[in-house]
């Protein structure tokens, strides 16, 4: 993976930059020591590492504004960072950048149950947002598997999803407003407690912009009351095709579960070996969860069972109590951990039209043989978001490259069948060079022009999302400004 070479003029001015930042930040908020900047050398895409020039850890919107104004004046690139759990390399530094970490900005600013929103500083973790409203029976719906660690700011930048987004939507559908600092240090307020802010939908384009348009410091989020209850069912099939057809029939029948998760045989075997959830050995497993009162749940599960039976499942297991429910989820929730036990793995994130599922799984199987690497599939089946996990050995020379080449083929396949490169993890550096498979040069140019408006000097996270060759002339502005 290529990254732009650091600008020597910036490296040479490190001390001067530190001195300026020290004027606006407390001493413990500027990190320049090499042993300490190493903490920020990568995110969860650990194959790529590079310590930043400096890291800063501001505590307020004002401090963020001061930092950005100085970096803007100095022509220094800035990479915003939440908790560093990006799987796409979104928070990967360059050697000449300042990492702006918002982890210290984690306060709850306002909770309003009557109007159903919470306003938080953007460094607050996803799970602790739900935690803050739990006592009143409320929750914040988007629930990425990384929710214990990841920050709301990272969720906004990546437009993260979660297991329950089939019903509740992803981050963008639950975000009401932000306070954002522009690269020149000016502060803007977009949206708020009311719905659908007038004017162009700037909030919509900021969400998912991977830290390239501004630094989000506060967020107003929609909160919901929890449902009365929830219960999963597990259905096993002897072919991927049949499982796919069953999902489609459930949706067509008008049942809208909160989650429909799909696992293929390699994934089931690995999870079973690791977590011993008691899954049946079969080609494809569905874990489907519905919500409501006990009677409502019974009714929906009966409908789902009726539809599933028409597809001759190998097994259909309803959870009779909380313990059985937990066991049904156990295997699915430990999928990543299970893979980690076996090997190093790369987690992909393409989306496909649900109808293309059997074709895509067959083709992934063929590619797996061609590349000589095993792959297991976990899949948000209701919305077509796939997570193929490719297993490789980081210590074996060439294995990472083979794995990346294999991954690229899978993602191209997703695009070919009418889907996209990434459903929830973002482009970062990981899928940057594949962008021209999904978009024409003109389509990408239209996106670059949006960044031109928000960040004319191209200083915010400039080496991400778009192929470097496409952004070269714009990033050139950075150099000449320095």
């Amino acid at each position: 993976m290529q990254m732009p070479s650091p600008n020597p003029a910036i490296l040479a001015r490190k001390d001067a930059l530190v001195a300026r930042l020290a004027e606006v930040l407390p001493a413990d908020a500027v990190i320049q020591d090499e042993a300490e900047t190493r903490v920020y050398e990568c995110d969860a895409l650990t194959a790529y590492k590079c310590p930043p020039l400096l890291a800063v850890l501001p505590r307020s919107t004002q401090e963020v504004s001061d930092v950005l104004r100085i970096c803007h004046e100095e022509g220094v690139p800035v990479v915003p960072r939440g908790a560093g759990t990006s799987l796409a390399g979104g928070a990967l530094p360059t050697a000449d950048c300042v990492i702006l970490g918002v982890a210290r900005m984690n306060e709850v600013l306002e909770t309003d149950y009557d109007n159903r929103f919470i306003r938080v500083q953007a460094g607050r973790t996803n799970l602790s947002v739900s935690g803050a409203v739990e006592e009143e029976g409320f929750f914040y719906a988007p629930d990425p598997s990384s929710q214990l660690a990841c920050a709301i700011s990272g969720n906004i930048a990546m437009n993260s999803g979660g297991a329950h987004c089939l019903k509740y939507g992803v981050t963008t559908n639950n975000l009401l407003g932000v306070t954002m600092v522009m690269m020149d240090g000016s502060v803007v307020e977009i949206g708020g407690a009311h719905l659908d802010a007038g004017g162009l939908d700037l909030l919509g384009v900021i969400c998912g912009s991977e830290g390239q348009l501004g630094v989000v410091t506060e967020a107003t989020l929609r909160i919901l009351h929890k449902p009365e209850g929830a219960r999963p069912v597990l259905i096993a099939f002897d072919s991927n095709e049949v499982a796919g057809a069953c999902v489609s029939d459930i949706i067509k029948a008008g049942v809208l579960p909160v989650a429909i998760e799909f696992m293929d045989r390699p994934c089931i075997e690995a999870c079973e070996a690791f977590a011993k959830a008691g899954y049946p050995m079969c080609e494809a497993l569905l874990v489907i969860e519905v919500e409501g009162s006990a009677a409502e749940i019974d009714h929906q599960l009966a409908l789902i069972a009726e539809i599933a039976r028409a597809h001759n499942p190998v097994e259909l297991r309803e959870a009779r109590d909380a313990d059985e429910a937990a066991r049904i989820w156990l295997g699915r929730k430990s999928a990543f951990g299970a893979m980690g036990q076996i090997n190093d793995y790369m987690c992909l994130d393409g989306t496909i039209p649900v109808s293309a599922l059997p074709t895509v799984l067959r083709r992934i199987g063929e590619l797996s043989k061609e590349f000589g690497l095993d792959v297991a599939n976990v899949f948000h089946a209701g919305d077509g978001n796939m997570h193929p996990l490719i297993l490789f050995d980081a210590n074996k020379p060439g294995d990472l490259e083979t794995c990346e080449a294999f991954g690229a083929e899978i993602l191209k396949l997703c695009v070919e069948v009418g889907g996209c490169l990434t459903g929830e993890h973002g482009v970062g550096i990981e899928k940057r060079d594949l962008m021209l498979h999904q978009y024409s040069a003109a389509d990408l140019e239209a996106q670059l022009r949006v960044k031109d408006v928000f960040d004319p000097k191209w200083l915010l996270n400039p080496a991400k999302v778009f192929p470097l060759s496409v952004t070269e002339s714009r990033r050139g502005v950075v150099m000449s400004a320095a």
Binding site: D114, N115, F138, N159, C165, G169, T172, M182, S186, V188, G192, H194, L195, D196, A197, G198, G199, L200, D201, L202, G204, V205, G208, S209, H225, S248, I251, K252, G254, G292, S293, E296, Q300, T351, I352, P353, V354, S355, G384, N385, G418, G419, C420, L421, T422, G423, E424, H425, G426, V427, K431, A442, D443, A446, R449, V450, K451, D452, V453, V465
Partner: protein, 368 residues
């Protein structure tokens, strides 16, 4: 009046590339937003590209009438969950609303509080920008974070960033049943409190509106018949503390009336649409000095009928925004249809318009 009606995306691109002056983008030919220029109609761009009920996706050309889309979905027991209003009764016109017009205006009805706005159901767009370039963003799948989300940007841009040629939508099952609880409250304040309690309950309320003429708040639940009945029963019990509660007779008619602001049909005056924090509606309502008011979205959406030429924005003291939906051309020109944005946001919006429509020919001046 000169009018262009391209029949393909390529013709649309040619029309825009070769335009010599401002273009007024028109969807269904219903009363437009009265901007100057040659009329560019999307009525020739019709037809369904793809409909997969099992994947909840519909791809359709922008000029397709909304009624056709709804009929198609209805045959599969599905619907546009954001419940777009039919504005003809309110505006007193007789055009044929198009799906492109709905998306360009981000038109969303009562279910917006639960299911989201039009923008939340828009998966992808194809459009022609102000230079005549055909562009696309998003796609036809439900989860997609590949690059910037220009899909949202195009939704609600009222044609000022480009002319939509095709939209991909997420559609949803039509619920088996809808049941509405009527709460006969004392006043706006208790109505907002009742709606807030309903929306903060576990019962997944899909509509919460208040009609001050009748002093009735309506709360809707939807789903399987047994489920909707159960939830409504719970709400009848739990909302009793805010007024007398009962099941409303004709749920569908009630919500169609709220969606289309039927209470204002046939009445003269200007119509404003105000979006605020629901609890602020209580303070704001008397300050508006309106001839008539209607409340949706738990109080967060206020429709106000005021004497012609009234500058209602001057009376609004709470955060939010007000759109002038119905008024004379003179009033619209004087007050502006859309709420002026704070300077930094206006600058960003102007910057985006400059990028997408450098000649400033698409619905020029409509949004600022």
């Amino acid at each position: 009046m000169k009018m262009m009606t391209p029949e393909t995306e390529a013709e649309l691109a040619d029309a825009i590339a070769n335009a010599e002056g401002p273009l007024a983008i028109q969807g269904g030919g219903s009363r437009g937003l009265s901007v100057a220029g040659v009329v560019l109609s999307t009525q020739g761009l019709t037809g369904v590209e793809l409909y997969e009920p099992g994947a909840l996706t519909l791809v359709v050309r922008a000029g397709t009438p909304v009624a056709e889309v709804e009929a198609l979905l209805s045959a599969e027991n599905q619907q546009l969950a954001f419940e777009p209003m039919d504005h003809r009764g309110l505006l007193g016109d007789a055009g044929t609303p198009t799906i492109g017009g709905v998306i360009a205006a981000n038109v969303s009805g009562p279910r917006r509080i639960q299911a989201g706005a039009a923008r939340d159901h828009l998966l992808g767009v194809r459009f022609v920008d102000g230079s005549g370039q055909v562009l696309k963003n998003g796609g036809r799948v439900m989860k997609n974070v590949t690059g910037y989300d220009l899909v949202k940007l195009m939704c609600g841009a009222h044609g000022t960033l480009g002319v939509l040629s095709e939209v991909s939508l997420k559609v949803l099952p039509r619920p088996e049943a809808a049941v509405t609880v009527a709460v006969e409250g004392r006043d706006l304040s208790s109505a907002v409190a009742a709606m807030s309690a309903a929306l903060g309950s576990p019962y997944d309320v899909t509509g919460a509106a208040y009609d001050p003429d009748r002093s009735v708040a309506y709360v809707r639940v939807e789903g399987f018949s047994s489920s909707a009945a159960y939830r409504a029963e719970r709400l009848v019990a739990e909302l009793g503390r805010f007024g007398s509660t009962r099941l409303a007779e004709d749920s569908e008619a009630v919500w169609q009336g709220i969606r289309d602001v039927a209470a204002f049909h046939g009445r003269t005056g200007d119509v404003w649409r105000i979006s605020v924090k629901p609890s602020d509606a209580v303070t704001l309502a008397p300050q508006l000095q309106a001839e008539a008011l209607q409340f949706d979205w738990g109080g967060g959406l206020i429709w106000a009928l005021v004497p012609e030429g009234t500058d209602l924005r001057a009376r609004i003291t709470v955060p939010g925004h007000a759109t002038l939906v119905r008024a004379s051309a003179e009033t619209r020109a004087r007050l502006g249809v859309f709420q002026p944005q704070p300077a930094p946001l206006a600058a960003l919006s102007a910057g985006l318009r400059q990028q997408f429509d450098p000649r400033g020919i698409l619905n020029s001046g409509l949004m600022g």
